[in-house]
Symmetry: C2
Subunit: 263 residues, 2 copies
């Protein structure tokens, strides 16, 4: 039975509003506190992971560290997960070429275990889609079941930049996964100057279970040290805007905690 | 022969002005850039270690992580160096009770090796004096010799809060160490409101090799998330002050690179 039906939300417009990349910078954590939305996920290898407090926090599983600084290191010793300075690989290409599945499993397990010492996780998702390589997706979904944490699974893989060779296996795994399929929305790659319009246009969406990812960060010197700060600040300003808040209020808000309890 | 004599600086007032705790926060790195003094040391397990660029940078060896956030994890797997969430112990007491010497050696070696991938280190020192336990001091001094990096060794252990039981062994190790003994000055624990006076009073010092540690950080939201931000900002403002700069100019400036080359 469909999750929304089971929750008595069939035919409604339902929204999980998700704050990505918590725990890496103070600016991102501070935006989470300032906006007041409950749902997000934490990069456990991030320096500020221990500083996140919230009601609906998941584990943003990390296998890459893509900025010159700040950078993140694996919690475990797997040589296939680190560059010569000991950091996670700086790109998905390098990760997917080198990562050994058993080292990934050990690392993701360590991140989940460490997260459980810091807060009570409600779900799993993954930074940059690092687990889209099919054997890693299998590990991701197995750990989600083992730890009884729902995993983010999109309804479609279109426009997510997934290498075509991964698609057949991935689609099969997604079909078999015991988690709700969500309509994935993410303005990250859109021009920052159109961000307000993106959020206001949500008003036109029809019924369904939407998963809207944002990367809000405060406009501070630390926040602006990330090369992609304009898109993060654009999310923050748009989600602080009263008109966007009014549009979001048209949706029934859903948390991962509610999803977890319904599964 | 005395280092200052060898450098032709006998009878002079010589100063190594040292910026501690680089690499942990953006605010600390940005203060290093803004002040323009060459010497400091980098916490390799810190998220921003890869973001420090400078002329005279050492390795600020880390074995503790004392703030609630940001926190740091060991680079190696030693169980005696981590708490239940995988972070370094939050106090020297816990570290010194639990740390196994061979796990410390592996960790410090990994930090030095990783530092060498990021920059060209000129010296070693240690966060919170974590290596003052005599068997760890032995490791520290051995690694310094092995990597040909001068290690910070103070002239006296008075007022450094060293447990009395450590003193006899430590003093012997310090006597034997092939590194210059410096007159250690650190206003960290002094009230921030008197910081300007502390720096201006340096003018009264007599001849000798002084090692002045500061913890300057920019006044930003991230910088102020550290519980001890007032003392960090006090250093930053004092060292930006023209009168303090005038006093510092009375000293002959020395870098660790010069010390390294003279040894």
């Amino acid at each position: 039975m469909d999750l929304l039906e089971r929750l008595g939300l069939g035919g409604r417009r339902v929204l999980i509003l998700h704050h990505d990349d918590l725990g890496l910078t103070h600016a991102q954590n501070a935006a989470y506190q300032a906006l007041g939305f409950p749902t997000g996920s934490v990069m456990v290898p991030g320096a500020w992971a221990s500083g996140v407090r919230g009601k609906d926090l998941g584990v943003h599983l990390v296998l890459t560290s893509e900025w010159p600084a700040p950078r993140m290191r694996p919690l475990t010793g797997g040589e296939s997960l680190r560059d010569e300075a000991g950091y996670f690989p700086s790109s998905l290409e390098v990760l997917w070429r080198r990562a050994r599945s058993e080292e990934v499993e050990r690392e993701l397990r360590a991140q989940i275990e460490a997260a459980r010492r810091l807060f009570s996780p409600t779900h799993l998702d993954t930074h940059q889609g690092a687990v889209l390589r099919p054997d890693l997706a299998k590990v991701y979904l197995r750990l989600a079941r083992e730890y009884r944490l729902p995993a983010l699974v999109p309804e479609s893989l279109e426009d997510l930049g997934v290498p075509p060779a991964f698609l057949p296996d991935l689609l099969r795994l997604m079909e078999e996964a015991p988690f709700p399929r969500v309509r994935f929305l993410d303005p990250y790659g859109l021009p920052p100057e159109g961000r307000l319009g993106f959020y206001l246009d949500l008003s036109r969406l029809g019924p369904g279970l939407y998963y809207l990812v944002h990367h809000s960060a405060l406009p501070t010197p630390e926040g602006r040290a990330l090369p992609d700060w304009p898109t993060r600040e654009a999310d923050y300003f748009a989600l602080s805007h009263p008109e966007v808040r009014r549009v979001l209020a048209e949706f029934h808000p859903l948390t991962w905690r509610q999803v977890k309890e319904a599964l």
